[in-house]
Protein backbone atom coordinates (compact mmCIF):
# COMPACT_ATOMS: atom_id res chain seq x y z
CA UNK A 1 0.00 0.00 0.00
CA UNK A 2 2.72 2.40 1.04
CA UNK A 3 4.56 1.67 -2.14
CA UNK A 4 1.48 2.38 -4.15
CA UNK A 5 0.86 5.69 -2.41
CA UNK A 6 4.43 6.74 -2.97
CA UNK A 7 4.27 5.85 -6.62
CA UNK A 8 1.09 7.87 -6.88
CA UNK A 9 2.69 10.86 -5.24
CA UNK A 10 5.69 10.54 -7.43
CA UNK A 11 3.68 10.35 -10.61
CA UNK A 12 1.40 13.13 -9.39
CA UNK A 13 4.26 15.61 -9.21
CA UNK A 14 5.48 14.45 -12.59
CA UNK A 15 2.04 14.97 -14.10
CA UNK A 16 1.78 18.48 -12.75
CA UNK A 17 4.65 19.29 -15.02
CA UNK A 18 2.83 17.60 -17.91
CA UNK A 19 -0.87 18.40 -17.56
CA UNK A 20 -1.59 17.40 -21.15
CA UNK A 21 -0.20 13.91 -20.61
CA UNK A 22 -2.25 13.62 -17.44
CA UNK A 23 -5.41 14.63 -19.19
CA UNK A 24 -4.71 12.20 -21.98
CA UNK A 25 -4.16 9.40 -19.50
CA UNK A 26 -7.34 10.26 -17.60
CA UNK A 27 -9.23 10.21 -20.87
CA UNK A 28 -7.73 6.86 -21.82
CA UNK A 29 -8.62 5.45 -18.40
CA UNK A 30 -12.19 6.71 -18.64
CA UNK A 31 -12.56 5.24 -22.13
CA UNK A 32 -11.09 1.92 -21.02
CA UNK A 33 -13.44 1.83 -18.03
CA UNK A 34 -16.43 2.61 -20.23
CA UNK A 35 -15.40 -0.10 -22.66
CA UNK A 36 -15.00 -2.63 -19.85
CA UNK A 37 -18.41 -1.67 -18.47
CA UNK A 38 -20.03 -2.21 -21.86
CA UNK A 39 -18.28 -5.57 -22.30
CA UNK A 40 -19.27 -6.60 -18.79
CA UNK A 41 -22.87 -5.59 -19.31
CA UNK A 42 -23.13 -7.43 -22.62
CA UNK A 43 -21.49 -10.52 -21.08
CA UNK A 44 -24.01 -10.36 -18.24
CA UNK A 45 -26.98 -10.07 -20.54
CA UNK A 46 -25.62 -12.92 -22.66
CA UNK A 47 -25.05 -15.30 -19.73
CA UNK A 48 -27.92 -14.31 -17.49
CA UNK A 49 -30.60 -16.25 -19.30
CA UNK A 50 -34.12 -14.98 -19.63
CA UNK A 51 -36.31 -14.73 -16.54
CA UNK A 52 -38.21 -17.89 -15.58
CA UNK A 53 -41.61 -17.83 -17.20
CA UNK A 54 -40.26 -16.49 -20.47
CA UNK A 55 -40.32 -18.74 -23.49
CA UNK A 56 -38.22 -17.86 -26.52
CA UNK A 57 -39.86 -18.87 -29.78
CA UNK A 58 -37.89 -18.62 -33.02
CA UNK A 59 -40.17 -18.75 -36.01
CA UNK A 60 -40.39 -17.89 -39.67
CA UNK A 61 -41.46 -14.44 -40.76
CA UNK A 62 -44.67 -15.77 -42.34
CA UNK A 63 -46.28 -16.83 -39.05
CA UNK A 64 -45.43 -13.49 -37.49
CA UNK A 65 -46.03 -11.09 -40.40
CA UNK A 66 -49.41 -12.66 -41.17
CA UNK A 67 -50.55 -11.85 -37.62
CA UNK A 68 -51.18 -15.51 -36.72
CA UNK A 69 -48.99 -15.43 -33.60
CA UNK A 70 -50.56 -12.22 -32.34
CA UNK A 71 -53.88 -14.02 -32.63
CA UNK A 72 -52.80 -17.25 -30.92
CA UNK A 73 -50.19 -16.37 -28.30
CA UNK A 74 -52.27 -14.33 -25.79
CA UNK A 75 -54.25 -17.48 -24.99
CA UNK A 76 -51.05 -19.42 -24.19
CA UNK A 77 -49.56 -16.54 -22.20
CA UNK A 78 -52.70 -16.19 -20.07
CA UNK A 79 -53.32 -19.90 -19.52
CA UNK A 80 -49.78 -20.64 -18.39
CA UNK A 81 -48.88 -17.12 -17.15
CA UNK A 82 -45.71 -16.97 -19.23
CA UNK A 83 -44.26 -14.42 -21.58
CA UNK A 84 -43.43 -15.53 -25.11
CA UNK A 85 -40.56 -13.74 -26.85
CA UNK A 86 -40.95 -14.12 -30.60
CA UNK A 87 -37.87 -13.98 -32.82
CA UNK A 88 -39.19 -13.82 -36.38
CA UNK A 89 -36.42 -14.91 -38.76
CA UNK A 90 -35.87 -17.25 -41.68
CA UNK A 91 -35.97 -20.99 -41.05
CA UNK A 92 -32.18 -21.13 -41.46
CA UNK A 93 -31.56 -18.66 -38.68
CA UNK A 94 -34.29 -20.12 -36.49
CA UNK A 95 -32.51 -23.48 -36.66
CA UNK A 96 -29.17 -21.79 -35.94
CA UNK A 97 -30.69 -20.10 -32.90
CA UNK A 98 -31.97 -23.47 -31.66
CA UNK A 99 -28.57 -25.05 -32.26
CA UNK A 100 -26.93 -22.45 -30.02
CA UNK A 101 -29.64 -22.72 -27.38
CA UNK A 102 -30.73 -19.12 -28.05
CA UNK A 103 -34.31 -20.31 -28.58
CA UNK A 104 -36.37 -22.83 -26.61
CA UNK A 105 -38.84 -23.82 -29.28
CA UNK A 106 -38.99 -23.44 -33.07
CA UNK A 107 -41.92 -23.12 -35.46
CA UNK A 108 -40.46 -23.56 -38.94
CA UNK A 109 -41.20 -24.90 -42.41
CA UNK A 110 -38.41 -26.84 -44.05
CA UNK A 111 -39.15 -30.51 -43.62
CA UNK A 112 -35.75 -31.68 -44.87
CA UNK A 113 -33.71 -29.47 -42.55
CA UNK A 114 -36.08 -30.08 -39.63
CA UNK A 115 -35.40 -33.82 -39.94
CA UNK A 116 -31.65 -33.17 -40.12
CA UNK A 117 -31.91 -30.96 -37.02
CA UNK A 118 -33.74 -33.77 -35.19
CA UNK A 119 -31.20 -36.38 -36.39
CA UNK A 120 -28.31 -34.24 -35.15
CA UNK A 121 -29.79 -34.36 -31.68
CA UNK A 122 -30.56 -30.63 -31.35
CA UNK A 123 -34.30 -31.22 -30.88
CA UNK A 124 -36.12 -33.74 -28.74
CA UNK A 125 -39.28 -33.77 -30.87
CA UNK A 126 -40.79 -32.58 -34.14
CA UNK A 127 -44.57 -32.46 -34.60
CA UNK A 128 -46.67 -31.32 -37.53
CA UNK A 129 -48.68 -28.15 -36.81
CA UNK A 130 -50.28 -26.83 -39.97
CA UNK A 131 -49.69 -26.20 -43.65
CA UNK A 132 -50.36 -23.64 -46.32
CA UNK A 133 -49.01 -23.40 -49.84
CA UNK A 134 -46.59 -21.56 -52.08
CA UNK A 135 -47.61 -19.76 -55.24
CA UNK A 136 -45.67 -18.30 -58.17
CA UNK A 137 -46.40 -14.62 -58.67
CA UNK A 138 -45.33 -12.35 -61.50
CA UNK A 139 -46.36 -9.49 -63.76
CA UNK A 140 -49.80 -9.82 -65.44
CA UNK A 141 -48.07 -9.71 -68.84
CA UNK A 142 -46.49 -13.11 -67.94
CA UNK A 143 -43.59 -13.01 -70.45
CA UNK A 144 -42.63 -16.66 -69.78
CA UNK A 145 -46.21 -17.87 -70.22
CA UNK A 146 -46.48 -19.87 -66.99
CA UNK A 147 -50.15 -18.98 -66.45
CA UNK A 148 -51.59 -22.18 -67.88
CA UNK A 149 -49.05 -24.60 -66.40
CA UNK A 150 -49.79 -26.95 -63.49
CA UNK A 151 -46.23 -27.73 -62.38
CA UNK A 152 -43.98 -25.25 -60.59
CA UNK A 153 -40.85 -26.99 -61.90
CA UNK A 154 -42.10 -26.60 -65.49
CA UNK A 155 -42.91 -22.96 -64.79
CA UNK A 156 -39.38 -22.32 -63.50
CA UNK A 157 -37.96 -24.03 -66.58
CA UNK A 158 -40.07 -21.72 -68.77
CA UNK A 159 -38.87 -18.66 -66.83
CA UNK A 160 -35.24 -19.75 -67.19
CA UNK A 161 -35.81 -20.50 -70.89
CA UNK A 162 -37.02 -16.95 -71.47
CA UNK A 163 -34.41 -15.55 -69.06
CA UNK A 164 -37.34 -13.63 -67.57
CA UNK A 165 -36.44 -11.82 -64.33
CA UNK A 166 -36.89 -13.97 -61.22
CA UNK A 167 -36.31 -12.85 -57.63
CA UNK A 168 -35.05 -15.38 -55.11
CA UNK A 169 -35.09 -15.00 -51.33
CA UNK A 170 -31.52 -16.34 -51.36
CA UNK A 171 -31.45 -16.38 -47.54
CA UNK A 172 -31.56 -20.09 -46.63
CA UNK A 173 -35.15 -19.63 -45.47
CA UNK A 174 -37.77 -22.35 -45.82
CA UNK A 175 -39.15 -20.62 -48.90
CA UNK A 176 -35.66 -20.43 -50.40
CA UNK A 177 -35.14 -24.12 -49.63
CA UNK A 178 -38.35 -24.97 -51.47
CA UNK A 179 -37.36 -22.82 -54.44
CA UNK A 180 -34.01 -24.61 -54.68
CA UNK A 181 -35.64 -28.05 -54.63
CA UNK A 182 -38.02 -26.90 -57.39
CA UNK A 183 -35.05 -25.78 -59.52
CA UNK A 184 -33.51 -29.17 -58.84
CA UNK A 185 -36.72 -30.87 -59.97
CA UNK A 186 -36.56 -28.77 -63.14
CA UNK A 187 -32.98 -29.98 -63.68
CA UNK A 188 -31.65 -26.43 -63.67
CA UNK A 189 -29.20 -24.39 -61.64
CA UNK A 190 -29.86 -20.67 -62.07
CA UNK A 191 -26.74 -18.53 -62.31
CA UNK A 192 -26.83 -15.24 -60.35
CA UNK A 193 -24.37 -13.80 -62.89
CA UNK A 194 -26.85 -14.32 -65.73
CA UNK A 195 -28.55 -10.98 -65.14
CA UNK A 196 -32.11 -12.35 -64.79
CA UNK A 197 -31.87 -14.29 -61.49
CA UNK A 198 -31.74 -11.94 -58.50
CA UNK A 199 -30.76 -13.60 -55.20
CA UNK A 200 -31.35 -10.80 -52.71
CA UNK A 201 -30.96 -12.49 -49.32
CA UNK A 202 -33.91 -10.68 -47.78
CA UNK A 203 -37.31 -11.48 -46.29
CA UNK A 204 -40.51 -12.32 -48.14
CA UNK A 205 -41.93 -8.79 -48.07
CA UNK A 206 -38.71 -7.26 -49.44
CA UNK A 207 -38.55 -9.97 -52.11
CA UNK A 208 -42.12 -9.21 -53.26
CA UNK A 209 -41.37 -5.47 -53.33
CA UNK A 210 -38.32 -6.20 -55.48
CA UNK A 211 -40.40 -8.35 -57.85
CA UNK A 212 -43.02 -5.62 -58.08
CA UNK A 213 -40.39 -3.02 -59.00
CA UNK A 214 -38.57 -5.23 -61.50
CA UNK A 215 -41.74 -6.80 -63.01
CA UNK A 216 -40.21 -10.14 -62.03
CA UNK A 217 -41.43 -13.59 -61.00
CA UNK A 218 -41.10 -14.85 -57.42
CA UNK A 219 -42.02 -17.83 -55.26
CA UNK A 220 -43.96 -16.78 -52.17
CA UNK A 221 -46.13 -18.30 -49.49
CA UNK A 222 -49.74 -17.44 -50.21
CA UNK A 223 -50.37 -15.83 -46.80
CA UNK A 224 -47.67 -13.17 -47.11
CA UNK A 225 -48.75 -12.36 -50.66
CA UNK A 226 -52.40 -11.98 -49.62
CA UNK A 227 -51.41 -9.77 -46.69
CA UNK A 228 -49.32 -7.47 -48.94
CA UNK A 229 -51.37 -7.69 -52.13
CA UNK A 230 -52.68 -4.10 -51.91
CA UNK A 231 -49.13 -2.75 -51.95
CA UNK A 232 -48.03 -4.87 -54.92
CA UNK A 233 -49.97 -3.48 -57.89
CA UNK A 234 -47.63 -5.09 -60.41
CA UNK A 235 -47.97 -8.72 -59.27
CA UNK A 236 -50.62 -11.42 -59.66
CA UNK A 237 -50.71 -15.13 -58.78
CA UNK A 238 -49.82 -16.96 -61.99
CA UNK A 239 -49.52 -20.50 -60.66
CA UNK A 240 -51.40 -21.60 -57.55
CA UNK A 241 -55.00 -20.53 -58.14
CA UNK A 242 -57.20 -18.42 -55.94
CA UNK A 243 -56.86 -20.63 -52.87
CA UNK A 244 -55.06 -23.71 -51.60
CA UNK A 245 -57.65 -26.19 -52.96
CA UNK A 246 -57.09 -24.75 -56.46
CA UNK A 247 -53.31 -25.12 -56.36
CA UNK A 248 -52.49 -27.60 -59.14
CA UNK A 249 -49.03 -28.61 -57.87
CA UNK A 250 -48.80 -30.75 -54.70
CA UNK A 251 -45.08 -29.89 -54.59
CA UNK A 252 -46.11 -26.38 -53.51
CA UNK A 253 -47.59 -27.53 -50.21
CA UNK A 254 -45.84 -25.95 -47.24
CA UNK A 255 -45.95 -27.86 -43.93
CA UNK A 256 -44.98 -26.23 -40.62
CA UNK A 257 -43.50 -28.15 -37.72
CA UNK A 258 -42.82 -27.36 -34.07
CA UNK A 259 -39.45 -28.42 -32.65
CA UNK A 260 -38.65 -28.60 -28.95
CA UNK A 261 -34.96 -27.76 -28.52
CA UNK A 262 -33.08 -30.35 -26.49
CA UNK A 263 -31.25 -29.14 -23.41
CA UNK A 264 -27.58 -30.10 -23.03
CA UNK A 265 -24.38 -28.80 -21.52
CA UNK A 266 -23.88 -25.27 -22.80
CA UNK A 267 -27.44 -25.03 -24.05
CA UNK A 268 -29.72 -24.18 -21.17
CA UNK A 269 -33.19 -24.09 -22.61
CA UNK A 270 -36.63 -24.12 -21.02
CA UNK A 271 -37.52 -27.63 -22.13
CA UNK A 272 -40.57 -28.00 -19.86
CA UNK A 273 -42.16 -24.77 -21.07
CA UNK A 274 -41.25 -25.63 -24.64
CA UNK A 275 -42.94 -29.03 -24.35
CA UNK A 276 -46.04 -27.36 -22.90
CA UNK A 277 -46.03 -24.91 -25.81
CA UNK A 278 -45.76 -27.66 -28.43
CA UNK A 279 -48.61 -29.58 -26.77
CA UNK A 280 -50.75 -26.45 -26.63
CA UNK A 281 -50.01 -25.53 -30.27
CA UNK A 282 -51.04 -28.97 -31.53
CA UNK A 283 -54.08 -29.28 -29.22
CA UNK A 284 -57.55 -29.23 -30.74
CA UNK A 285 -58.70 -25.79 -29.48
CA UNK A 286 -55.57 -24.03 -30.83
CA UNK A 287 -55.85 -25.93 -34.11
CA UNK A 288 -59.45 -24.75 -34.46
CA UNK A 289 -58.26 -21.21 -33.90
CA UNK A 290 -55.64 -21.63 -36.64
CA UNK A 291 -58.38 -22.86 -39.00
CA UNK A 292 -60.43 -19.72 -38.34
CA UNK A 293 -57.54 -17.25 -38.64
CA UNK A 294 -57.74 -14.94 -41.67
CA UNK A 295 -61.17 -16.22 -42.79
CA UNK A 296 -62.82 -12.90 -42.18
CA UNK A 297 -60.15 -10.68 -43.66
CA UNK A 298 -59.05 -12.72 -46.68
CA UNK A 299 -62.10 -14.89 -47.28
CA UNK A 300 -59.90 -17.98 -46.87
CA UNK A 301 -57.74 -19.44 -44.11
CA UNK A 302 -54.05 -18.53 -44.27
CA UNK A 303 -53.03 -21.74 -42.50
CA UNK A 304 -54.64 -25.19 -42.44
CA UNK A 305 -54.36 -27.16 -39.17
CA UNK A 306 -52.57 -30.47 -39.49
CA UNK A 307 -51.66 -31.78 -36.01
CA UNK A 308 -52.25 -35.34 -34.87
CA UNK A 309 -55.05 -34.22 -32.51
CA UNK A 310 -56.76 -32.35 -35.35
CA UNK A 311 -56.56 -35.28 -37.74
CA UNK A 312 -57.82 -37.70 -35.08
CA UNK A 313 -60.76 -35.43 -34.30
CA UNK A 314 -61.63 -35.45 -38.00
CA UNK A 315 -61.45 -39.24 -38.04
CA UNK A 316 -58.47 -39.32 -40.41
Amino acid sequence: MIGAVMTDKHSDTRWQVLPAARRARRLAETLAAALLLVLFASALSACGSQAPGTLRLATTTSTYDSGLLDDLLPDFEETYSVQVEVIAVGTGQALALGERGDADVLLVHDRRREEAFLQAGYAESRDPVMFNDFVLVGPPSDPAGIGGLDSAAQALAAIAGQQAPFVSRGDQSGTHGRELSLWEAAGLEPDPAGGWYFAIGQGMAATLRFADEKAAYALTDRGTFLALRDKLPGLVILLGGGQLSENPDPELRNPYGVLVVKASAGREVQSDLARTFAAWLTSLPTQQRIARFGLERYGQPLFYPDSLAWRQARGE
Binding site: G92, Q93, A96, L97, D171, F198, A199, G201, E213
Partner: protein, 231 residues
Protein backbone atom coordinates in the same frame (compact mmCIF):
# COMPACT_ATOMS: atom_id res chain seq x y z
CA UNK B 1 -18.90 -19.01 -29.38
CA UNK B 2 -15.52 -20.31 -30.35
CA UNK B 3 -13.26 -17.95 -32.21
CA UNK B 4 -11.93 -20.84 -34.25
CA UNK B 5 -14.93 -20.62 -36.54
CA UNK B 6 -14.20 -17.27 -38.19
CA UNK B 7 -10.47 -17.97 -38.30
CA UNK B 8 -10.92 -21.28 -40.09
CA UNK B 9 -13.45 -19.60 -42.35
CA UNK B 10 -11.00 -16.80 -43.12
CA UNK B 11 -8.42 -19.27 -44.34
CA UNK B 12 -11.02 -20.90 -46.58
CA UNK B 13 -12.33 -17.49 -47.58
CA UNK B 14 -9.04 -16.47 -49.17
CA UNK B 15 -9.90 -18.86 -51.98
CA UNK B 16 -13.54 -17.72 -52.06
CA UNK B 17 -14.21 -15.83 -55.28
CA UNK B 18 -17.52 -14.35 -54.10
CA UNK B 19 -15.74 -12.77 -51.13
CA UNK B 20 -13.23 -11.00 -53.36
CA UNK B 21 -15.99 -9.98 -55.75
CA UNK B 22 -17.84 -8.41 -52.80
CA UNK B 23 -14.70 -6.61 -51.61
CA UNK B 24 -14.05 -5.26 -55.11
CA UNK B 25 -17.67 -4.17 -55.53
CA UNK B 26 -17.66 -2.45 -52.13
CA UNK B 27 -14.56 -0.49 -53.14
CA UNK B 28 -16.03 0.36 -56.55
CA UNK B 29 -19.33 1.65 -55.18
CA UNK B 30 -17.98 3.53 -52.17
CA UNK B 31 -14.87 4.69 -54.06
CA UNK B 32 -16.98 6.16 -56.86
CA UNK B 33 -19.29 7.83 -54.35
CA UNK B 34 -16.32 9.28 -52.45
CA UNK B 35 -14.69 10.56 -55.67
CA UNK B 36 -17.90 12.31 -56.71
CA UNK B 37 -18.35 13.71 -53.20
CA UNK B 38 -14.75 15.01 -53.20
CA UNK B 39 -15.07 16.57 -56.66
CA UNK B 40 -18.17 18.49 -55.59
CA UNK B 41 -17.65 18.74 -51.83
CA UNK B 42 -14.11 20.16 -51.62
CA UNK B 43 -14.77 23.06 -54.06
CA UNK B 44 -18.17 23.67 -52.43
CA UNK B 45 -16.74 23.65 -48.91
CA UNK B 46 -13.87 25.93 -49.96
CA UNK B 47 -16.24 28.35 -51.69
CA UNK B 48 -18.47 28.46 -48.62
CA UNK B 49 -15.43 29.17 -46.44
CA UNK B 50 -14.00 31.95 -48.61
CA UNK B 51 -17.05 33.85 -49.82
CA UNK B 52 -19.86 35.77 -48.19
CA UNK B 53 -23.19 36.05 -49.99
CA UNK B 54 -26.87 36.19 -49.08
CA UNK B 55 -27.90 32.55 -49.40
CA UNK B 56 -24.68 31.32 -47.80
CA UNK B 57 -26.20 30.94 -44.35
CA UNK B 58 -28.96 28.76 -45.72
CA UNK B 59 -26.57 26.56 -47.69
CA UNK B 60 -24.34 26.15 -44.63
CA UNK B 61 -27.35 25.19 -42.50
CA UNK B 62 -28.35 22.69 -45.20
CA UNK B 63 -24.84 21.17 -45.29
CA UNK B 64 -24.77 20.86 -41.49
CA UNK B 65 -28.20 19.20 -41.52
CA UNK B 66 -26.98 16.82 -44.22
CA UNK B 67 -24.00 15.86 -42.04
CA UNK B 68 -26.37 14.39 -39.48
CA UNK B 69 -28.94 13.01 -41.89
CA UNK B 70 -29.94 9.42 -41.08
CA UNK B 71 -28.61 7.25 -43.96
CA UNK B 72 -31.76 5.12 -43.92
CA UNK B 73 -33.85 8.23 -44.66
CA UNK B 74 -31.50 9.02 -47.55
CA UNK B 75 -32.10 5.45 -48.74
CA UNK B 76 -35.86 5.90 -48.53
CA UNK B 77 -35.73 9.17 -50.49
CA UNK B 78 -33.52 7.71 -53.22
CA UNK B 79 -35.79 4.63 -53.34
CA UNK B 80 -38.90 6.76 -53.90
CA UNK B 81 -37.04 8.84 -56.50
CA UNK B 82 -35.93 5.79 -58.51
CA UNK B 83 -38.99 3.59 -57.94
CA UNK B 84 -41.02 2.68 -60.99
CA UNK B 85 -43.72 5.04 -59.79
CA UNK B 86 -41.14 7.73 -58.90
CA UNK B 87 -40.00 10.72 -60.99
CA UNK B 88 -36.80 8.98 -62.17
CA UNK B 89 -38.35 5.51 -62.50
CA UNK B 90 -37.69 5.52 -66.24
CA UNK B 91 -33.94 5.19 -65.61
CA UNK B 92 -34.53 1.72 -64.10
CA UNK B 93 -31.69 2.34 -61.67
CA UNK B 94 -33.36 0.97 -58.54
CA UNK B 95 -31.53 -2.13 -57.20
CA UNK B 96 -28.39 -1.35 -59.25
CA UNK B 97 -24.94 -0.16 -58.13
CA UNK B 98 -25.76 3.28 -59.60
CA UNK B 99 -28.57 3.71 -57.08
CA UNK B 100 -26.15 2.88 -54.28
CA UNK B 101 -23.64 5.44 -55.55
CA UNK B 102 -26.35 8.13 -55.58
CA UNK B 103 -27.41 7.36 -52.01
CA UNK B 104 -23.80 7.27 -50.80
CA UNK B 105 -23.00 10.61 -52.46
CA UNK B 106 -25.98 12.15 -50.66
CA UNK B 107 -24.59 10.77 -47.39
CA UNK B 108 -20.90 11.64 -47.93
CA UNK B 109 -21.15 14.98 -49.77
CA UNK B 110 -22.33 17.07 -46.77
CA UNK B 111 -19.60 15.51 -44.60
CA UNK B 112 -16.87 16.37 -47.13
CA UNK B 113 -18.23 19.87 -47.82
CA UNK B 114 -18.92 20.74 -44.18
CA UNK B 115 -15.59 19.53 -42.78
CA UNK B 116 -13.65 21.07 -45.69
CA UNK B 117 -15.36 24.39 -44.99
CA UNK B 118 -14.36 24.21 -41.34
CA UNK B 119 -10.78 23.29 -42.20
CA UNK B 120 -10.33 26.10 -44.75
CA UNK B 121 -11.94 28.63 -42.42
CA UNK B 122 -9.52 27.78 -39.65
CA UNK B 123 -6.43 28.52 -41.77
CA UNK B 124 -4.56 31.53 -40.37
CA UNK B 125 -6.01 34.66 -42.10
CA UNK B 126 -2.47 35.95 -42.60
CA UNK B 127 -1.86 33.13 -45.08
CA UNK B 128 -4.68 34.45 -47.24
CA UNK B 129 -3.26 37.99 -47.06
CA UNK B 130 0.17 36.66 -47.93
CA UNK B 131 -1.17 34.75 -50.95
CA UNK B 132 -2.90 37.89 -52.18
CA UNK B 133 0.18 39.99 -51.60
CA UNK B 134 2.13 37.51 -53.72
CA UNK B 135 -0.33 38.20 -56.54
CA UNK B 136 -2.27 34.92 -56.47
CA UNK B 137 -5.38 34.69 -58.65
CA UNK B 138 -8.61 33.72 -56.79
CA UNK B 139 -8.20 30.10 -57.96
CA UNK B 140 -4.54 30.00 -56.90
CA UNK B 141 -5.55 31.55 -53.61
CA UNK B 142 -8.19 28.87 -53.02
CA UNK B 143 -5.75 26.08 -53.99
CA UNK B 144 -3.17 27.52 -51.64
CA UNK B 145 -5.61 27.62 -48.76
CA UNK B 146 -6.83 24.07 -49.43
CA UNK B 147 -3.20 22.95 -49.44
CA UNK B 148 -2.70 24.72 -46.14
CA UNK B 149 -5.86 23.07 -44.73
CA UNK B 150 -5.07 19.63 -46.19
CA UNK B 151 -5.06 17.87 -42.82
CA UNK B 152 -8.68 18.84 -42.29
CA UNK B 153 -9.65 18.24 -45.92
CA UNK B 154 -8.26 14.70 -45.80
CA UNK B 155 -10.06 14.20 -42.50
CA UNK B 156 -13.27 15.17 -44.30
CA UNK B 157 -12.63 12.46 -46.91
CA UNK B 158 -11.88 9.92 -44.18
CA UNK B 159 -15.15 10.82 -42.43
CA UNK B 160 -17.11 10.61 -45.66
CA UNK B 161 -15.60 7.26 -46.62
CA UNK B 162 -16.16 5.82 -43.15
CA UNK B 163 -19.75 6.96 -43.30
CA UNK B 164 -20.56 5.17 -46.53
CA UNK B 165 -18.44 2.00 -46.61
CA UNK B 166 -19.92 0.75 -43.34
CA UNK B 167 -23.45 1.99 -44.03
CA UNK B 168 -26.09 -0.69 -44.39
CA UNK B 169 -29.59 0.84 -44.27
CA UNK B 170 -29.51 2.80 -47.52
CA UNK B 171 -27.36 0.18 -49.27
CA UNK B 172 -29.94 -2.49 -48.47
CA UNK B 173 -32.93 -0.33 -49.46
CA UNK B 174 -31.72 0.99 -52.82
CA UNK B 175 -29.21 -1.73 -53.74
CA UNK B 176 -31.35 -4.68 -52.71
CA UNK B 177 -28.37 -6.89 -51.72
CA UNK B 178 -28.49 -8.73 -55.08
CA UNK B 179 -25.90 -11.51 -55.20
CA UNK B 180 -23.27 -10.76 -57.83
CA UNK B 181 -24.49 -7.21 -58.41
CA UNK B 182 -25.26 -5.02 -55.39
CA UNK B 183 -24.14 -7.18 -52.46
CA UNK B 184 -21.47 -5.25 -50.56
CA UNK B 185 -19.65 -6.06 -47.33
CA UNK B 186 -22.12 -4.35 -45.00
CA UNK B 187 -25.23 -5.96 -46.52
CA UNK B 188 -23.47 -9.33 -46.73
CA UNK B 189 -22.80 -9.12 -42.98
CA UNK B 190 -26.51 -8.54 -42.31
CA UNK B 191 -27.40 -11.49 -44.55
CA UNK B 192 -24.93 -13.89 -42.93
CA UNK B 193 -26.03 -12.87 -39.42
CA UNK B 194 -29.67 -13.38 -40.33
CA UNK B 195 -28.85 -16.86 -41.57
CA UNK B 196 -27.02 -17.67 -38.38
CA UNK B 197 -23.64 -17.90 -40.16
CA UNK B 198 -21.97 -15.92 -37.40
CA UNK B 199 -18.45 -17.05 -38.30
CA UNK B 200 -18.75 -15.78 -41.86
CA UNK B 201 -20.39 -12.56 -40.62
CA UNK B 202 -17.50 -11.94 -38.22
CA UNK B 203 -14.95 -12.69 -40.91
CA UNK B 204 -16.64 -10.23 -43.29
CA UNK B 205 -16.63 -7.68 -40.46
CA UNK B 206 -12.88 -8.18 -40.13
CA UNK B 207 -12.40 -7.68 -43.86
CA UNK B 208 -14.48 -4.48 -43.73
CA UNK B 209 -12.39 -3.19 -40.84
CA UNK B 210 -9.10 -4.02 -42.59
CA UNK B 211 -10.31 -2.40 -45.81
CA UNK B 212 -11.32 0.81 -44.03
CA UNK B 213 -7.97 0.88 -42.28
CA UNK B 214 -6.01 0.46 -45.53
CA UNK B 215 -8.02 3.09 -47.39
CA UNK B 216 -7.59 5.54 -44.52
CA UNK B 217 -3.83 4.90 -44.53
CA UNK B 218 -3.80 5.74 -48.24
CA UNK B 219 -5.89 8.87 -47.72
CA UNK B 220 -3.53 9.99 -44.95
CA UNK B 221 -0.65 9.94 -47.44
CA UNK B 222 -2.45 12.89 -49.03
CA UNK B 223 -1.80 14.87 -45.86
CA UNK B 224 1.79 15.34 -47.00
CA UNK B 225 2.80 18.25 -49.25
CA UNK B 226 0.48 18.35 -52.29
CA UNK B 227 1.84 18.33 -55.83
CA UNK B 228 0.78 21.87 -56.58
CA UNK B 229 2.79 23.32 -53.70
CA UNK B 230 5.99 21.44 -54.47
CA UNK B 231 9.09 23.08 -55.84
Amino acid sequence: MSLGVPLSWLSEGVANHELWAIVLRTLQVSGTALAVSALIGIPLGTALALTRFGARRWIVALVYTGMGFPPVVVGLSVYLLLSRQGPLGGLEWLFTPSAMVIAQVVIALPLVAGLTMGAVESVDPDVRLLLRALGASPVQEALGLVAEARQGVVASLVAGFGGIISEVGAAMLVGGNVEGSTRVLSTAIVLETRQGAFGMALALGGVLLALTFLVNLMLMRLQGTPWWSKG
